[in-house]
């Protein structure tokens, strides 16, 4: 794994930040929820205590909390007893709170499907169900009457003519002034109905006056009919009742039953309904996302202000990121609403007259949380991204620097010697130390190599003086004249010193060639005659070898020093002669490449051993295993390389096909 990847992975550890952020957000959420719950409870308690003793607000007429010691009514009649009985009576109607306005059509569908809210009254086989509801300032009544024979009033007849009476529904109620009033519904067919009241005229005559404030609709059902009514609450006092006059045929005696006294149609039950002011009262606490509900002790909703679904003041975070975060943070199954309830007591705090429930959507704090979370996660993600990027960039630069160092160290050993100018040596960090270490090492190595390189030359130079002493002494001795026996030794000593001199010349050859190259002048010349002329010379110099030339017909113009080229050929041919058997043909070839003139010298003989071709052209490389009288310092091919490089070219060696010999290829730039 590269350093880049490693550091990138390290950088990815900063992603712990968002994770920690999510955890923090969750904790924050539960803390918020707890706090919200507490504050909601205190809100509920505050509102509840503001409602303490306000039964006038909770209920339209305060239920008479009378002394339980009051002697019960003497009247046996249940209805009459209920009339005075302040305690809940079976004829009390408790309207439910409607969430929407029912359409007056006689159908029950738009009413809440609340079976327990239905009240049933029966007499013999007769039975009706009543469902009452309040919407805003209207009382809605749904009557479901079981009736085998639905009898309508005669169309067009006086509603006061008993012979035309069909099934009638009486509504009895106490007006706001405390007076009992009754209206009746007499339908002449299914559809809209209007209530009518009976008024006594100035002279005692009775008239049926339409009561347009009480409207309704009647629909027949397979088992009877349904009547839906709407009565403004402002018309109604505390008491309310319904009486069904069930007639099997028009004008017949009815079977009367319901929650009114059948004899005088007086009410026996109360209409326990919240005051419309309660809603108004509650509305002052209205807040988006908040629901306030006041319920009667038995659990029936009296009033509520519902702003749960209202658009919140905080716009929810809609960004994809925010949703993504939410998915991360939200735990499944968390409730979206928190509730808090508080009881409402009477003035003496003895009796619970209702309860207040406050509900709040989670959105409130969810949004708060989401905001904080989004900001925080955005920030941490940004920090992570920056950290990862920075790490990556750092890693990349580190890798670049390292690879530069590596490349530099790989290429430090050049043909010219060792490169001591090393990259990164100016850096003040550890890499800089490494580079400086390398640089120092290379510097020392270079000094060493340089010393080795010049050793032969220096040695040659140093040996020359003592050798001169030896040779001049020998020559003097010769001139002085010695005995013939001593002359033999003298001759041997002279030969030895000559050989030593030859060695010295060979040792200094490379430095002399280097010097010659540095002083060489470049001229334009044709390579072909130079090679041919050199080949002629070799034929004379090496009669035991044949020399063949293979040159192009046209001139091969080069920029360079022909003397040096010939010297290079000398070294190559020397080499070829040494490694080829007597009588072998050495081929000198010149061919043209696009940007180079190629000189090849092929000689039959042993192939190049593997691995040597890379070193052949290095200074002091010796691959000869045979020993002859001539000194070899591995400088010949080094000189070839120096001359090739002077001509912006290169030297290479390879074995001939079939390992039948060796080929030296020199490219000279054109």
């Amino acid at each position: 794994m590269s350093i880049r990847i490693k550091l990138l992975l390290l950088g990815l550890f900063t992603l712990v930040l968002p994770w920690a952020g999510c955890r923090y957000a969750r904790e924050m959420e539960s803390a918020l929820r707890e706090g919200e719950q507490t504050s909601l409870l205190s809100v509920a308690q505050t509102i509840a205590s503001s409602l303490q003793g306000r039964s006038d607000l909770l209920y339209r007429q305060p239920p008479h909390v009378e002394d339980p010691e009051t002697p019960p009514a003497t009247d046996d009649d249940q209805v009459a007893a209920a009339r005075r009985e302040p305690k809940p009576s079976p004829y009390d109607l408790r309207p439910i709170l409607l969430s929407s306005q029912p359409f007056l059509d006689g159908y029950v569908e738009e009413w809440p499907q609340n079976k327990t809210a239905w009240r049933y009254f029966a007499r013999d086989q007769h039975q009706f169900g009543i469902l009452t509801g309040v919407f805003e300032r209207m009382l809605y009544v749904m009557l479901d009457v079981r009736d085998e024979h639905l009898v309508f009033d005669t169309l067009g007849a006086s509603p006061l003519d008993p012979s035309t009476f069909g099934d009638r529904i009486w509504i009895g109620f106490e007006g706001p002034d405390g007076r009992e009033r009754q209206v009746f519904i007499a339908a002449t067919g299914p559809g809209s109905v209007t209530a009518r009241r009976i008024e006594t005229g100035e002279y005692g005559q009775l008239t049926a006056v339409s009561e347009p404030r009480i409207l309704g609709a009647l629909q027949s059902t397979p088992r009877g009919y349904r009547l839906e009514l709407r009565i403004p609450l402002s018309m109604l006092g505390e008491r309310f009742g319904v009486l069904i006059d069930d007639r099997d045929q028009r004008g017949a005696d009815p079977v009367s039953y319901g929650t009114l006294r059948s004899d005088d149609l007086h009410t026996v039950g109360r209409l326990i309904v919240a005051s419309p002011e309660l809603t108004t009262y509650l509305k002052q606490f209205r807040q988006p996302g908040l629901r306030l509900a006041v319920a009667a002790p038995e659990g029936r909703l009296l009033a509520q202000v519902d702003s749960l679904s209202e658009a919140h003041v905080f716009a929810p975070e809609r960004g994809i990121l925010a949703q993504f975060y939410r998915r991360f943070v939200d735990r499944p199954g968390t409730r979206r609403v928190i509730d808090s309830a508080a009881d409402i007591y009477d003035r003496e705090r003895r009796q619970i007259i209702g309860s207040l429930q406050v509900s709040q959507t989670e959105d409130r704090w969810l949004i708060l949380r989401d905001r904080a979370l989004t900001h925080m996660l955005n920030l941490t993600l940004l920090v992570s991204a920056i950290a990862v990027t920075a790490t990556f960039i750092f890693a990349a630069s580190l890798a670049v620097r390292l690879s530069r160092l590596r490349a530099a160290s790989e290429s430090a050993l050049t043909r010219e010697g060792l490169v001591t100018t090393f990259p990164e040596t100016d850096a003040s960090d550890e890499l800089g130390d490494v580079a400086r270490g390398f640089s120092t090492l290379l510097h020392r190595l270079n000094e060493y190599t340089g010393y080795l390189r010049t050793l032969a030359g220096k040695l040659a130079h140093e040996i020359r003086t003592p050798l001169t002493i030896v040779r001049s002494s020998l020559e003097n001795m010769e001139s002085e004249g010695v005995s013939s026996s001593a002359g033999v030794y003298l001759e041997r000593a002279r030969q030895g010193s000559e050989r030593l001199n030859g060695i010295l010349i060979a040792m200094g050859a490379a430095s002399r060639v280097e010097e010659a190259i540095s002083n060489a002048e470049r001229t334009r010349f044709d390579l072909v005659p130079v090679v041919q002329s050199a080949a002629d010379a070799y034929r004379i110099a090496f009669p035991e070898r044949a020399f063949a030339t293979d040159v192009p017909a046209e001139a091969v113009e080069l920029e360079g020093a022909p003397d040096l080229v010939v010297q290079m050929l000398d070294k190559l041919v020397d080499n070829a002669v040494d490694f080829s058997p007597a009588g072998a043909t050495i081929i000198l070839r010149v061919r043209l490449e696009q940007h180079a003139a190629v000189v090849e010298v092929d000689n039959p003989g042993p192939p190049l051993s593997a691995g040597t071709s890379a070193h052949l052209f290095e200074s002091l490389w010796q691959s000869r295993t045979d020993s002859d009288s001539r000194p070899h310092f591995g400088l010949g091919l080094y000189i070839v390389r120096l001359i090739a490089e002077f001509h912006r070219g290169e030297a290479a060696a390879s074995s001939l096909p079939g390992d039948s010999g060796a080929r030296f290829t020199i490219r000279l730039a054109r």
Binding site: R471, S472, N476, V530, S533, V565
Partner: protein, 231 residues
């Protein structure tokens, strides 16, 4: 010979100095040997030698020989001076010749060769004192070679060649068109030199002629073989 010629040897290596002194003495020269420049100059101030053989590096002075040559040349413009050195680098040669040395030799030259040179230089000194002998003069077009005086003229102008250079030119110009290989040239010049030194001698010869005649092209290279003189 009326009076023995005096050869001064300035050489810091005592063994070489003494060997050379012995060889010159045997040849019949009066030899004065000095180890360093100050000794030599003190002696030269009172009496000039007839010829000086000077080592380039002298004791503490790596190039004391050059300085000595300059001082000696200031005393006598005619005095033949031969440089000897263990270093055979071209720079030394150039520097030495610019200072007016008559020849430049490496120490691996044999004593016989060295003495041949000294003799030749004395011959030259003598020849310069006599009128030119026509028999010794070779003419090749613009080239005039005086073998006795070891003097070369090109288009009537004297070309200042060192002794080695003169012998190379002489060897080439005597048989125009004949290729002389390096060995032949070395033999002619009484030196043992490596190929590169011969090459640089030839180059220097060409340059000296070209300083008189930029179109000079008489010394041709026959690659792999040697050189030839072309009229």
């Amino acid at each position: 010979m009326a009076m023995k010629r005096m050869v001064a040897i300035v050489e810091d290596e005592p063994a070489i100095r003494d060997n050379y002194a012995a060889a010159f003495t045997r040849e019949g020269y009066v030899v004065r040997a000095y180890a360093n420049r100050s000794q030599a100059m003190t002696a030269f101030a009172s009496r000039l030698p007839d010829l000086a053989v000077i080592d380039i590096s002298l004791e503490e002075e790596p190039e004391g020989g050059f300085e000595l040559c300059r001082q000696l040349r200031a005393l006598s413009p005619e005095l033949p001076i031969i440089f000897l050195t263990a270093r055979d680098s071209e720079l030394d040669a150039v520097s030495g010749l610019r200072l007016g040395a008559d020849d430049f030799l490496t120490k691996d030259l044999s004593l016989a060769h060295l003495i041949a040179r000294v003799n030749a230089l004395f011959r030259r000194v003598d020849a310069l004192r006599r009128p030119a002998e026509a028999s010794q003069i070779v003419r090749r077009g613009p080239l005039t070679l005086d073998a006795e005086r070891m003097q070369v003229e090109w288009e009537g102008q004297v070309v200042l060649l060192s002794l080695t250079e003169f012998w190379i030119v002489y060897a080439l110009a005597r048989h125009p068109g004949h290729v002389k290989n390096r060995q032949q040239l070395m033999d002619a010049a009484n030196v043992v030199l490596d190929d590169n030194t011969i090459t640089s001698h030839v180059k220097r010869i060409r340059r000296k002629f070209q300083s008189i005649d930029p179109k000079f092209d008489a010394v041709q290279t026959v690659y792999g073989m040697g050189y030839r003189w072309v009229d």
